[in-house]
């Protein structure tokens, strides 16, 4: 099967595209001909045609266009480039396929009109092939909006047809112009985008349920970020101290989640239900410190709801007391003359188990509040509510290490563990060194106590990975808000995180207090709207009617799809590879995403010695662009960009040297083309043999997993990355079909694991937890006492500072093996391994030093009972944090000659999951082994990637047999008159048999040389992933 590596967009849309393509190209061509033959009448005709016939494949393109339009400007360029590539490739296959590679081109922008002219005979039809969809899209848009535009478009095309030659030139210019403004015909491509982007941004009506039960509706741009809506709501509420609040939505699983202010709303809600609720996100431990009454009022409303719904449990007396303050605040003084009938009271919702007795008590207490202003009553309400033990505690269902149902409560002070209603443990923020989740496990790493020597990690099992992630996020946010002076920047290099990069993005409590102390406005008048609450309860509507409406209808969103995709992997037949590759397999790679940039420092350190040894084998590292930035870019920009970045790094380097104009030839023309290149011409053959041994646990779907990757990228390594990058989108876009950009960024949360190192900037601890120091009576007597306690309390925060670097420290130390004890210290670096891998993979071209770390870092996930005592930990020998259980082909380069084997053991939850238990003794699961051997020849392209070449062609050929999948990716690049052909082969072998790596490697090299005697082999990577038997566990 032949597929092209496209931009991620392409890849994602591939399924649809492949379905539609033949149709489209046919049609397009047809149309074009028509146009060409009858230019005069064309306009009307075509218009008609577009209006009707086209509509059948409109949706696909429409969606695609939209998605493109949402991406960054570079995407536009890519789009343009697409046209070019189509021109070049037309004979070879239908449809624009080269996007992925084309993406590099814009940077070079070296395309000469001369080159184009060579192909000028056909530019027209080609252009239209690609143009057509754009037009269609536009037409569609226009139809909706203004008929006139439609006309214009058509005319535009008409003009285009008439002036073929000019057009060619114009296009050339357009291309040459790269991402700049588009003139002339090019606008045909661009106009739809513009329409979408600039003029006709779609507005969506958001419904926000406010705390008083009313509904606030406002229009936002469809692509607005959460922040935008939130600010609108705050504005509507006249709220300045907004940092305590947030918006929630219900996801497709009826779980309430916080809307991330930094992300697009649309990306988060995963359904078309723009229903939100305004809620308190961080309950101020001392509401009296809030500056404005209106803030307190809103907090009161939230708490009333919490109390009435039972979320904030309290006793009969407290219900009555709080209720009485509510009455006072909303109705003013008790009127003895007109005693409120008790049945009126029953219309107010005070408690989950409200009865006459309570109502009478409320009235009785209400009498005692005579003279209290509403603000005072609110303040009293809060003074009482804040003392409730569950005040501000966000509960999450979980299971402990023994599978016992517990609740985890996140609050201002830390993490609380409840069993039934009993608090069985508590981890104050200062005690927590790291918070992480992996799949459905949630871990906290605990600072060793005075008597303990080692950190321990406590693991909890959540219902699913979404819950684990949700809990993790809440922890990250609460910690940041209550314990930090300033939020931790997401990409702080020191806190290398696996997985999600999510960080709290708002102001911390410290900041918001400072800010609100500056509030200088007359207290805003606002109405305490009891009536609304009443009417609501009259309706019988639940007080907590956050988003009752329509949520259920939500179609499955990302999360759901994840499951789907897994299933799919199993089912995929070879024929589907193309389609599925875009979707299913990707999931598997998730957690590797962030390893890459994570620990570059560490990796560097770690690998310093190794890399020295290897240096002789390596070429001088080309100037490597800062990886972090690339990753950032990747995360924030369109996938296409991301791809490009990588390609520059890896692929295009060699190309830069490539010799002149390789004829765009058919797929297998490899050798001959190559020869055109001058001495500098560099040919890289990359044969990757990925050998997988599949244990029984492994799903057949494996094959797909591996196949999936080749379909998408030029280099194996890149492929991986690409996949990774794409992956979340894959999940999402199905419904959204929208720009990839967002999905990419949102991806930062899609992974199944992440870590967070709560690090406190020393000072705050005490101010933040005022209660902790409140009582210091009996000072004298307690001197000793206090000393000790202060040690506990004060020292902790201070110790945190050093801790900041602890991670690094750990990394550089050979992991300590605590032998013998039940408690084993945990190695911090699951991720490190992964990183190293990643690093190796990704940076091989650019930073050779980083490449290889045959690393044997003991690490593991220590799991332990939540009891302070029973700590379970385990030290895997060389675990590596990948998705376990799902072996994925991973190309890890140990830069080799001298063959360095990297053996890694993956910690997997698979087994734990089955057992629903992470017990002390069960060293979590080390059951995947991966081996990677890389052969890498010295690179000839001395100049590195001075300039990227111009991509001439790229194609991917995939062939499959029973247990092998071979993907050949051929790219030709033109650079400074030299052409380079690069062939990458990827062979995935899936099976039970034991394969000798060395042999496989040798074989691969040999074959490659035989097949392409004229080319040089630059790199061979053998990667083996094995599932080990279960006895690996304790």
């Amino acid at each position: 099967m032949t597929t092209e590596v496209g931009s991620e967009t392409e890849v994602k849309e591939k399924a649809e595209e492949s379905a539609d393509q033949p149709d489209q190209s046919e049609k397009a061509t047809e149309e074009t001909r028509e146009v060409a033959s009858a230019e005069g009448e064309e306009k009307g005709k075509e218009k008609e045609k577009e209006g009707k016939g086209i509509s059948k494949f409109l949706p696909t393109w429409l969606k695609k266009q939209k998605s493109l339009s949402q991406t960054s400007p570079t995407k536009d360029t890519a789009l343009k480039e697409e046209a070019i590539s189509v021109e070049k490739q037309e004979e070879e296959g239908p449809a624009p396929e080269v996007n992925g590679l084309a993406d590099e081109v814009p940077e070079k922008e070296a395309v000469k009109s001369e080159q184009l002219k060579e192909k000028e005979e056909k530019p027209h039809s080609k252009a239209s092939t690609d143009t057509e969809p754009a037009k269609e899209e536009k037409v569609d848009e226009s139809v909706e909006k203004s008929p006139e535009e439609t006309k214009e478009t058509t005319e535009g095309q008409g003009v285009e047809e008439e002036k073929k030659e000019q057009e060619g030139e114009v296009q050339g210019e357009g291309e040459g112009g790269g991402g700049g403004g588009e003139e002339g015909q090019t606008s045909i491509f661009q106009s739809p985008l513009r329409l979408v982007r600039k003029t006709k941004m779609k507005l969506v009506v958001c419904h926000v349920t406010l705390l008083d039960g009313t509904d606030f509706s406002c229009e936002v741009e469809k692509r607005a970020k959460g922040q935008f809506l939130f600010f609108k709501v705050c504005e509507h509420l006249n709220l300045l101290e907004k940092d305590y609040f947030g918006l929630t939505y219900k996801d497709n699983h009826e779980q309430t989640s916080w809307l991330d202010p930094m992300k697009e709303i649309k990306r988060q809600i995963r359904s078309n239900n723009w229903q939100f609720a305004f809620n308190v996100k961080f309950y101020p431990p001392d509401p009296s410190l809030l500056t404005e009454d209106i803030t307190r009022y809103l907090l009161c409303l939230q708490l009333r709801e919490d109390v009435a719904s039972g979320r904030l449990p309290c006793s009969f007396v407290t219900h009555a007391l709080l209720g009485s303050y509510t009455l006072q605040a909303e109705f003013g003084d008790y009127e003895p003359d007109q005693p409120r009938p008790v049945d009126f009271m029953s219309q107010l919702n005070f408690a989950p188990s409200q009865n006459k007795e309570m109502e009478e008590k409320i009235l009785e207490l209400h009498k005692s509040h005579r003279g209290m202003t509403p603000a005072q009553a609110d303040a009293q309400f809060l003074e009482n509510a804040k003392k409730l033990s569950m005040y501000g505690v966000d509960l999450h269902h979980a299971k402990d290490s023994e599978g016992v149902d517990i609740m985890l409560g996140v609050c201002a002070n830390g993490l609380l563990v409840y069993k039934d209603r009993l608090r069985i443990n508590r981890f104050a923020w200062p005690k927590i060194l790291k918070i992480s989740y992996k799949r459905n496990n949630f871990y906290i790493k605990i600072r060793p106590g005075e008597t303990e020597q080692f950190e321990s990690t406590v693991g909890f099992k959540l219902q699913n990975h979404r819950s684990a992630k949700r809990l993790w996020k809440v922890c990250v946010e609460n910690h940041s808000f209550f314990r930090l002076n300033t939020p931790e920047p997401p990409t702080k290099p020191r806190f290398l995180t696996l997985g999600s990069k999510f960080r709290y993005s708002g102001r911390t409590q410290a900041q918001t207090r400072t800010a609100s102390s500056l509030i200088d406005r007359p207290a805003p008048s606002f109405e305490r709207t009891s009536s609304k609450r009443i009417s609501r309860s009259l309706d019988g509507a639940p007080m907590i009617s956050i988003t009752e409406a329509g949520r259920d209808s939500a179609e499955n969103g990302r999360e759901h799809r994840l499951d789907d995709s897994k299933v799919k992997m199993v089912d995929v037949s070879p024929g589907d590879v193309e389609a599925t590759s875009a979707q299913s397999p990707l999931r598997v790679h998730v957690d590797n995403i962030y390893d890459h940039d994570k620990t570059q420092d560490e990796v560097l350190k770690h690998q310093a010695s190794i890399s020295q040894l290897k240096r002789s084998f390596m070429e001088a590292p080309p100037p490597s662009p800062p990886q972090t930035n690339q990753w950032e870019k990747r995360l924030t920009s369109s996938p296409a960009t991301a791809v490009r970045v990588q390609q520059q790094q890896v692929v295009s380097e060699p190309h830069a040297e490539a010799a002149a104009a390789a004829a765009p030839a058919a797929a297998d023309c490899t050798i001959s083309d190559t020869k055109e290149s001058a001495k500098t011409a560099e040919v890289e053959i990359e044969e990757t043999v990925v050998i997988q041994e599949v244990s029984k646990a492994t799903k057949p779907g494996l094959v797909t997993v591996t196949t999936g990757s080749p379909a998408s990228a030029p280099t194996d390594q890149e492929t991986r990355e690409q996949e990774v990058t794409v992956q979340e989108e894959v999940a999402v876009p199905k419904d959204a079909k929208a720009a990839k950009q967002e999905s990419v960024s949102s991806e930062s949360e899609s992974e199944e694991e992440a870590e967070y190192h709560p690090n406190v900037s020393v000072s705050l601890s005490h101010t933040q937890i005022p209660e902790e120091k409140e009582e210091e009576e009996e000072e004298e007597e307690e001197e000793e006492v206090e000393d000790k306690e202060n040690e506990d309390e004060t020292a902790e925060p201070n110790m945190l500072a050093p801790d900041v670097s602890s991670h690094q420290a750990e990394t550089s130390h050979p992991a300590e093996d605590i032998s013998g004890g039940v408690v084993e210290s945990q190695k911090e670096d699951m991720k490190k391994n992964a990183e190293n891998e990643k690093e190796g993979r990704e940076t091989e071209d650019s930073t050779d030093d980083l490449m290889m770390t045959p690393e044997e870092t003991p690490n593991g996930v220590a799991l332990s009972e939540e009891a302070v005592t029973g700590l379970a930990a385990h030290v895997g020998e060389e675990p590596e944090p990948r998705m376990n259980g799902e072996p994925r082909p991973q190309v890890i380069c140990c830069s080799e000659p001298p063959v360095v084997k990297t053996e890694m053991v993956t910690i997997s939850d698979t087994f734990a999951a089955q057992k629903t238990e992470i017990a002390t003794k069960e060293v979590p699961i080390v059951h995947t082994e991966t081996k990677t051997i890389t052969y890498e020849a010295a690179q000839l392209d001395g100049t590195g990637d001075g300039e990227p070449g111009v991509l001439m062609t790229a194609q991917t050929i995939t062939s499959e047999s029973l247990c092998t999948t071979t993907t050949t990716h051929i790219t030709k690049t033109l650079k400074g008159g030299l052409s380079e052909t690069r062939i990458e082969k990827r062979i995935v072998i899936t099976g039970d048999c034991d394969i000798d790596h060395d042999k496989a490697l040798a074989q691969a090299i040999k074959e490659a040389k035989e097949q392409h005697p004229d080319m040089s082999v630059t790199r061979v990577v053998v990667h083996k992933e094995t599932e080990l038997a279960e006895e690996e566990e304790d």
Partner: protein
């Protein structure tokens, strides 16, 4: 003004119970000591007198019941906080009947009485430490998790944390509240360990007063109008070292109360009364 958790140590009423003759022989005990019932009664009378006369509490005196040798230790039969009273299900089967009289008395005081009916639950009031802000419940031979859960359910406003009690009869065998936010703790290793756990489990920061003798750490704190901080604690005769520690407390009305006999049947100061605040309650 009514407020939650206001006035820790403020009490208006106390419930006590007489000492049956059966105490001498039949009361449960962890030691082999002989108890002089007369002496014990003398001590107890002095104790009640302090509450009644010196501190001015309304003392409800329940008659002793010979069939319940341990009935003087009323604390185990109920937990009162605010105007809610939880009638416990004592861990010792022989003591279950003690709760009947207690229940009547509490109802008579118009408290909101909650009963622990779950047959799997056991709870001795001696395992319940109320700090003014939260409960700690010792999981001991007398108190189990279920009992603690029911307590948590009865007092929803407060956090209820469990603390393993291994080395002694009750949680309060080695600790008690010596003031708002002040935990008096014995210096034994189990006591210190338990304190650590309590500190870890709590959102609040407690001060601690360590006394050399575990049992001396059981004292009674009150904060009474016109009297300020009041502490009933061990005598110098009984625990001289611990006594010295208490003596250092400033601004306290210190009232040493002899408990030589009752302690032989594991009775501490707190065991002999249930303190109730009716005035501040709402």
């Amino acid at each position: 003004m009514a407020a939650l958790m206001a006035g820790f140590g403020l009490y208006t009423h106390a419930i006590v119970r007489g000492i049956p003759a059966s105490l001498a022989k039949e009361a449960l005990r962890t030691s082999e000591a002989e108890v002089d019932v007369d002496k014990a009664r003398g001590e107890h009378d002095a104790y009640v007198e302090v509450l009644k006369t010196r501190l001015g509490l309304d003392v409800v005196e329940l008659p002793a019941d010979e069939s319940f040798p341990d009935c003087v230790f009323v604390e185990d039969a109920a937990v009162v906080c605010g105007d809610t009273a939880l009638i416990t299900r004592p861990g010792a089967e022989s003591r279950r009947g003690e709760t009947e009289a207690m229940k009547r008395a509490l109802k008579a005081l118009n408290l909101n009485v909650v009963e622990m009916t779950d047959e799997n639950a056991t709870l001795d009031g001696g395992d319940v430490l109320f700090t003014g802000r939260e409960f700690f419940v010792g999981l001991s031979s007398r108190t189990n998790q279920r009992g603690a859960e029911i307590l948590a359910d009865a007092f929803k406003d407060y956090a209820v944390s469990t603390v393993p009690v291994l080395a002694s009869l009750h949680l309060k065998s080695f600790c008690s509240m010596g003031g708002p936010g002040l935990i008096v703790i014995g210096s034994s290793e189990p006591a210190q360990k338990a304190l650590k756990i309590m500190q870890q489990m709590s959102d609040h920061c407690y001060d601690k007063l360590t006394v050399p003798d575990d049992i001396a750490a059981n004292c009674i704190y009150m904060n009474l109008p016109n009297k300020g901080h009041v502490l009933l604690h061990c005598t110098a005769e009984e625990f001289p070292e611990s006594f010295k520690v208490f003596e250092k407390l400033k601004d306290y009305t210190l009232i040493p109360v002899s408990n030589m006999e009752k302690v032989k049947v594991d009775g501490a100061l707190t065991c002999c009364s249930i303190l109730i605040n009716k005035k501040g309650s709402i």
